[in-house]
Symmetry: C2
Subunit: 263 residues, 2 copies
Amino acid sequence: MGTAQISAGHRKWVRSLHRKRIGEKEKAFIAEGFNALEAAIETKLHPILEIITEQDHLERVLALASDRGMPIYTCSRSVIEELSTEKTPQGVLVICSRVTCSFRELDESPPETVLYLDRVSDPGNLGTIIRTSLWFGISHLVLSPFCVDPFNTKTIRASAGAIFKARIYQPVDSGEMRKFSKRMEYLKVAMVPHGGSHPDALRKEGRKIVMLGQEAGGLSNDLMECADLSVSIPGRGDVESLNLSVASAIALYEIAQRRAPFR
Amino acid sequence: MGTAQISAGHRKWVRSLHRKRIGEKEKAFIAEGFNALEAAIETKLHPILEIITEQDHLERVLALASDRGMPIYTCSRSVIEELSTEKTPQGVLVICSRVTCSFRELDESPPETVLYLDRVSDPGNLGTIIRTSLWFGISHLVLSPFCVDPFNTKTIRASAGAIFKARIYQPVDSGEMRKFSKRMEYLKVAMVPHGGSHPDALRKEGRKIVMLGQEAGGLSNDLMECADLSVSIPGRGDVESLNLSVASAIALYEIAQRRAPFR
């Protein structure tokens, strides 16, 4: 497959993908850099639609992708800067297919742990949560309506490549999630700022849905009420709360300990 | 104390404080919002030099601060937008004294746990680490040379008020830190991505300095070599690493467990 220069109309289309509404309509998103390119090639979960690269990086891009049949466009540094949302763009943009998984498929091979994120609004938090989940081997993330776009550039950056490995289901409302949980016999765990059990309760064997709420307001009443177990991270009260991605990380860490019991 | 309008020259000075070099020279930093104002008043660690508020918030500002003798300036929304680095400014800017603590003072009342941050470069990570530390009752943070400015607006925002409660020592180079550790009998713990002990090793009683390295390259060789113990967070290998503030949080969480033993 040869390479081509990128036209003005094409550039306009690429820029438009940064907007959630357009990205969803076009079923595409933009990831940046060689790490993203390698992850996209490796996992195939979000097939690459095209690659846009600075001339300087063309050789390296071709070495990775030349025999894979996707279009490769070259452009100048200034065009990369126009298309990127990074302060210092890495020089390679990977346009990928937005693939979200069908929630019904989870019935066929229900994983031990599922994360349910209720209206998480910060893209950096969402990306970090995806990264941390994958680190601990938890790859199924279910997003409520009104969550930030998981294919937002900032989310993708914070995920450090994990977006290409995560299975994301969205939007799934609380009713649907509750039915799934009942049908498949999951324990619904609500992460709450205060008053819940110690996180080591998460080490117990058995299927769990861990529910995390939005940064400002936490979980909806609806989800709080349906929880089988509430868990809080004990603190010393010098600050009001933990950052959401930090609280998630501690919960995920404890879940992972069930495989490596306390010594 | 009365209120006054803010002059053009004064506005220029305030804007200049966003730059690290100027902030350090002027020994001042800017925090935004009522939470910051309340925390600054409550803790007194970083005395308030002045408050700048939109006319709309003046009454609330006066209720909190009127009898405390600091100048209060009022201005229009557009001036607040000019002075703030927030996308949607909250309408109140608090100019505070940059106070960094003297590292020598730690000898007098050495805390059980000290964090040593080696060239941490992301302001959001640093702020989140400060927030998480305070949550777990660890308030002494020692920063190496070349760390991001702890009084950066983004750091302060991510700290969610914790910057006003943390005791920050900087810059402290690795030699000085090692001498302190030897003199005061601290265990030097290096957080490393792979190959270290399980984090539950952090539950052991005794003085510890937990050393965390920069996002990209980790700890310097120097620090790696001087460590008495290396700790890694076991993962499943689906991503390369954890975010620095997440790794710190899991370490701090484990340290906090020494007070509440595993059930």
